[in-house]
Every structure is written in structure tokens, then in C-alpha cells.
Symmetry: C2
Subunit: 114 residues, 2 copies
């Protein structure tokens, strides 16, 4: 299968909850991301480091552009020198393939940021 970064978002993908096995596979591919469960909802999250607050917020704005283009939105938390991003799919209250595709896009954006 193509790497996550090369995949378009799946129109039907947001309605399919991933199996634990599939989640594990994707987390090996995106090895900076961690699984967490908040209010019974599985999410993936990663913290990115920056030199100050302004650079952190600039990255948050880049991720906002990606999210708007994809019409799929994360939780983004910015504080001095860091940005934490969480992805999950609201319609299924869990993880879909689209969350991992967006996570891969965040990682790619980070390569060129800050």
C-alpha cells in the first residue's frame, strides 16, 4: 500500500473505524505519534518543538490551512516553543485512516517549518 503521505483523503474513510491492528501498523509508519484515549475516544497526538511562541503559532496556521483544504480538523494546542496536535474523527468518535493521512501531512509540513 502507498505510504500515508501519498494518499488522498478517503471520502468513505471517515466512516470506517480502524481496527487495533491497523492502528498499530500506522503508528509504526508514523513513529512520533502516540495513541491516547480521551473521554473514551481514541486519538493520536504528537508534540512538535519550536524556538519560540511565534514560530509555534506559524506552524499552527500552516496546519489550519491543511485542515481547511481537507475539511478535516484537529485539536491544536500552542504554547511557548511547542505545538501539540491531536487527530480523531468526530463522526465515528474514533480513528479513521484520514486521521493518519493528516498526521503524515503534519509531519511533512514540520520538515519545512520553524
Amino acid at each position: 500500500m502507498a505510504a500515508l503521505i501519498d494518499q488522498p483523503l478517503k471520502t468513505s474513510g471517515s466512516s470506517v473505524t480502524l481496527s487495533n491492528k491497523k492502528i498499530e501498523e500506522f503508528l509504526i509508519e508514523l513513529n512520533y505519534w502516540q495513541l491516547s484515549v480521551i473521554s473514551h475516544i481514541k486519538q493520536i497526538n504528537r508534540t512538535y518543538q519550536f524556538k519560540n511562541f511565534t514560530l509555534a503559532m506559524a506552524f499552527a496556521n500552516q496546519i489550519t490551512d491543511l485542515a481547511e483544504q481537507a475539511n478535516h480538523h484537529p485539536r491544536i494546542c500552542v504554547e511557548w516553543g511547542k505545538v501539540n496536535i491531536s487527530w480523531w474523527t468526530h463522526s465515528i468518535a474514533g480513528l479513521s485512516v484520514n486521521d493518519f493521512i493528516m498526521a503524515a501531512r503534519c509531519d511533512k509540513a514540520y520538515q519545512y517549518a520553524g
Copy 2:
């Protein structure tokens, strides 16, 4: 004493931890803000509502401008339709008057936002 919104940040303010009594007084003045304790550090936080993700992020950028001007930075979490802001003072690992002054400035910015 002048309302929080009318006060300049205190240069020395960031080194003085507020008493519980003072915190209570300020929370009455800023009645949408809540006190929480995270990893033994007192913080104040408020969630603001917006119509979509873009408007929420626009508000986060406004708060970033206020923070840069004041050289005092919050934690800002953005998700679809909401922005949660937390203030505390890193140097004292707790709450200073500057956190409440910045909270008042956030409330004022929200009156004109989204």
C-alpha cells in the same frame, strides 16, 4: 483599584504569587474564567465559542499578538468552533496579577471577534 482591563502589566508582577483571597477576587471580576491545577501549577482558563475552525484560529492569532506585545504567553488550544486559553506564570509556577490582566484583555478581544 482599577479594573484589570485598565491595568498595565506589572514588571515586578510576574515574580509575586497571588494569595488565594486575591485569586478569588479576580475570578469574581472575570467570571467566565475558571481556576484549575495541572501538575501542581495553578492556572486560569476559559473556553470561547466560534462558528467554525477558521474563526477560532483567527482569534488565537489575535491572542498571539496580545501575548507578543506583553511578552507573556498562554497555552491556546483550538478545535472546531472553540478556543481554550490558559494563563499562568512560568517563573513562579503559579498565578500572578499579569495572568488576570491578560485574561481581561482576551475577554475584551472576544467582544470584537468572530
